[in-house]
Symmetry: C2
Subunit: 90 residues, 2 copies
Amino acid sequence: MSDAVVFVGTKPIMNYVLATLTQFNEGAESVTVKARGRAISRAVDVAEIVRNRFLPGINIKEIKIDTEELESEQRRVNVSTIEIVLEKAG
Amino acid sequence: MSDAVVFVGTKPIMNYVLATLTQFNEGAESVTVKARGRAISRAVDVAEIVRNRFLPGINIKEIKIDTEELESEQRRVNVSTIEIVLEKAG
């Protein structure tokens, strides 16, 4: 169970912190926190709160950023994305 | 000159893109794009726009996130930070 993903949107940040903690408590070796657009800042908050306040044994394995092209009715819009991979320390 | 830093705040994103491009054009081997709080999403936009639209020869060397403690008058506030290190491809 190493493919747990938490997608951060517009709900209160602690919802996503709790979702991440739950994945680790249920046995996940790693949890990927994903977001795009303005939610990117919030994804970083989630990762930082998880490892600083709740699970000091969790490390940041990798952080990736990328660009997604969204099709709206009139035009294509580029939106930035982030993936923060958290993992249990060896 | 490998210690160029662009600190992303609330100005238009293209200001920071231009600042980053200028550093590379002036000979920097790497440029670190930094931000904190809600500006983190914008720092990711800056990095993505620089490498996708203007300088395809630039790679992301490293992305770090952290937490800073700010002292306000009444209490301490934790704020997330990001550092995106861009470098010229070898």
